[in-house]
């Protein structure tokens, strides 16, 4: 049994900023695991193509973008074939977009559970993000195939890739925490998210390289977007484009850390009322 009669639960009103008690998430790790496992199991149930959808989504987006931005608009691509260039950006970007979409609705969608049983509420957005990692892995596999097809060999910079993936996870988590908590009380969030995510993509160097931004102040401004560092970093680590996004990534890391701390505090503060308002 998990615990003994030494357990003591104190129930009292908390005012002001709650303590974080992140160890609680560890206590409830199995809930997070099972919720993520449920998401994965259920996502492609009763579909003909199943997990292939996780691959179609970035591939089709790549095809459309290659025609519109590569052929028609003739955007530069740092010397890499445009389809590969845009796909390498889409893989982390779509991970982020899917996380934000799903995690933001995780609390509202799981409202019935919130009202019936107590567990660490962080488990819900965290599990949404964990389940998105599977789609990310599949898309990443396709990216490797595309790289082989275009004959692009990764450089030694690839050792930075795990770090970039962790950065993408934390960027998704921080945004999702704030939006999911906000969504509980204000369903406006649900309606706003599709637009926010779409606009967000265009301020992230997905379809264009950061190198086209010629004004340093604008580049710094764009780097405040944590996904800018991630997307640029992906291309640098995998495709060997020569622009090392050092400063951009430093800013992205700082912004992500700040956002994560703010997000966790905000979530913790709001969570005590989730069951009452969801």
């Amino acid at each position: 049994m998990a615990s003994s009669s030494e357990d003591v639960i104190e129930i009292k009103p908390n005012t002001g900023w709650a303590s974080l008690a992140l160890s609680e998430l560890w206590t409830y790790r199995e809930v997070a695991f099972f919720l993520a496992w449920r998401d994965v199991k259920v996502r492609y149930k009763q579909t003909v193509f199943g997990f292939a959808w996780a691959v179609f989504q970035p591939l089709i987006t790549m095809a459309i973008f290659s025609v519109i931005f590569g052929r028609v608009a003739k955007l530069p691509s740092d010397g890499v074939p445009y389809p590969l260039f845009v796909f390498a950006g889409l893989v982390p970007w779509l991970f982020f977009a899917n996380c934000v979409n799903k995690a933001s609705n995780s609390l509202v969608g799981g409202g019935a559970i919130l009202k019936q049983v107590y567990f660490c509420r962080l488990a819900m957005p965290v599990s949404s993000i964990a389940s998105s990692l599977l789609d990310f892995a599949l898309a990443f596999g396709v990216l490797l195939v595309l790289m082989a097809y275009f004959g692009v060999v990764p450089t030694a910079n690839i050792i930075w890739l795990p770090f970039l993936i962790v950065l993408a996870i934390f960027a998704s988590l921080s945004v999702s925490l704030v939006l999911s908590a906000l969504n509980v009380q204000f369903r406006d969030v649900k309606h706003a998210i599709p637009f926010v995510v779409q606009i967000w993509m265009y301020v992230t160097p997905v379809v264009y390289p950061m190198s086209v931004v010629d004004k340093p102040w604008l580049e710094t401004l764009l780097a405040l977007n944590p996904m800018a560092g991630v997307v640029e970093g992906f291309r640098w680590a995998l495709l060997g484009v020569d622009t090392a996004p050092g400063p951009t990534i430093m800013i992205s890391v700082a912004v992500t850390l700040t956002l994560t701390v703010v997000g966790v505090f905000y979530f913790r503060r709001m969570e005590r009322n989730f069951a009452d308002v969801v």
């Binding site: 009669s5 003591v8 009292k12 559970i113 019936q116 567990f119 009380q185 009322n273």
Partner: protein, 442 residues
């Protein structure tokens, strides 16, 4: 009492609710209000005033200053009407929501069974849902592994355990959900209304399961609208009303008082001209309960015969009327109904215009100790059939036991004496070729 397992001190929960709109608003006021509302809400959001942000401005205390202790192994029933704060109390204790004031301390592993099948997903199989639901309720994976066969057996799902649960009947889902929760083995368990699930046979099984969990020394706090299941399982009951504790004591005592008060009916009810208690043909003027001495009362002794008396005024000549009286039990089951056509001299004859008094005599040593609300229906039976008046819960009869004189219990005073009725039966004994007869209790 040894150290309490649950200790509740001044626990209170306030909700903000939206106040009713002012009814006398001009169109201009309404337009101004609906235009400024979003800005007020954004203002509230920015200043961190969530109630303003959510447009809520009235306070409502769902639970107000409730205190009590529960000792180890005690089984306590929470009773009260809808909205009395029972479920709010369980939600606070199971940490689903936070109290506004007050504290509670719980020692031991808590399992709460507030709704069965929490988190069940229709696309997952029964097996997968058992694991998911188990983890949400606080079981480790290894624990579910260990108890899996037991859970499936209890749920009677059998070979369908690997079928997606969307193909389950609602009864199957509920059985599986209860079964997972019932195998939690907590030290402190909160149960809310889940005993009312499934068919009668499964309900019985659930009640027995909770009773056996309680018998194993688990401390149980149980909410139920079914007074009988509370009396069957609980030693003690806490009665909440309007968010406050009204009474706390031995289950049978508290429930008896709760039932008589919540039914809240007097022994007599009169209907003036301003009350619609009839039609064009006839009207029920009054209904009352009289004991064997003829006093109007709502409390009679179990040994005593009593009558339900109805005053009927007939307006239209040439019509035959029928009165039906329904006696229900306190948990709203029909005890019996009776119709005055049993008397052939009244049935098909027209009633004369004017006042009539009808009495139904209920014998002593017949009903159980309970509170019986009485309903009445008055029909015109001839020349055509038409309902004049029908209503439940007009008056009530509390059947009590004064302890004086013989009853069916015959001095058998320990333990409960179950059953919906409590008649005195004829018994006989044959021994040595002689037959001895006696009424029990004499």
């Amino acid at each position: 009492m040894s150290k309490p397992v649950i200790s509740i001190r001044g626990l209170s929960k306030m909700y903000h609710i939206a106040a009713a709109r002012k009814s006398k608003q001009t169109l201009q006021e309404r337009v101004v209000e609906s235009a400024t509302r979003p800005f007020k809400r954004i203002g509230g959001l920015l200043t961190g005033n969530r109630t303003a942000a959510a447009d809520l401005d009235q306070e409502f205390w769902a639970l107000n200053d409730v205190s009590f202790d529960v000792g180890p192994g005690e089984v306590v029933g929470l009773i009260g009407r809808n909205g009395a704060g029972k479920s709010t109390l369980l939600k606070l204790l199971s940490r689903i929501t936070e109290p506004t004031r007050g504290t509670a301390t719980i020692h031991g592993r808590v399992g709460s069974l507030l709704e069965v099948g929490t988190g069940f997903h229709p696309e997952l199989s029964g097996r997968e849902n058992v694991y998911l639901n188990g983890s949400i309720l606080g079981m480790r994976r290894a624990e579910v592994d260990r108890k899996f066969d037991e859970i499936v057996e209890f749920s009677e799902i059998g070979k369908f355990i690997d079928t997606p649960s969307k193909h389950y009947s609602s009864g199957m889902k509920v059985r599986l959900g209860f079964s997972v929760a019932a195998h939690l083995e907590p030290e402190v368990m909160f149960v809310d209304e889940v005993l009312a699930v499934g068919d009668a046979a499964f309900r019985k099984k659930c009640t027995e399961k909770v009773a056996s969990i309680a018998a194993d020394g688990t401390t149980v706090l149980l909410v139920s609208h079914n007074a009988q299941s509370v009396t069957a399982i609980c030693d003690r009951a806490v009665w909440l009303h309007g968010g406050e504790k009204v009474e706390d004591g031995p289950a049978t005592d508290v429930i008896t008082r709760y039932l008589s008060e919540s039914i809240g009916l007097a022994g007599e009810r009169e209907f003036g001209d301003d009350v619609r208690s009839g039609g064009e043909v006839a009207k029920l003027r009054a209904i009352r309960v009289r004991n064997s001495r003829g006093d109007v009362t709502n409390t009679v002794d179990v040994r005593e015969a009593f009558c339900v008396e109805a005053d009927i005024e007939v307006f239209k000549p040439g019509c035959g009327l029928v009165l039906k009286l329904d006696m229900n039990t306190s948990d709203n089951m029909g005890a019996f109904s009776s119709i005055d056509t049993n008397n052939p001299t009244w049935s098909n004859e027209a009633w004369s215009v004017g006042h009539h008094t009808v009495r139904m005599w209920v014998p002593g040593n017949f009903l159980q100790l309970d509170t019986y609300p009485v309903g009445a229906a008055l029909w015109q039976w001839s020349p055509e059939r038409e309902v004049q008046f029908a209503s439940k819960d007009l008056v009530c009869v509390h059947v009590t036991d004064s302890g004086e004189g013989p009853t069916s219990m015959a001095g058998f005073t320990t333990g409960s004496f179950p059953g919906p009725i409590r008649p005195v039966m004829e018994w006989e004994m044959e021994s040595g070729g002689r037959i001895l007869t006696a009424q029990d209790g004499s």
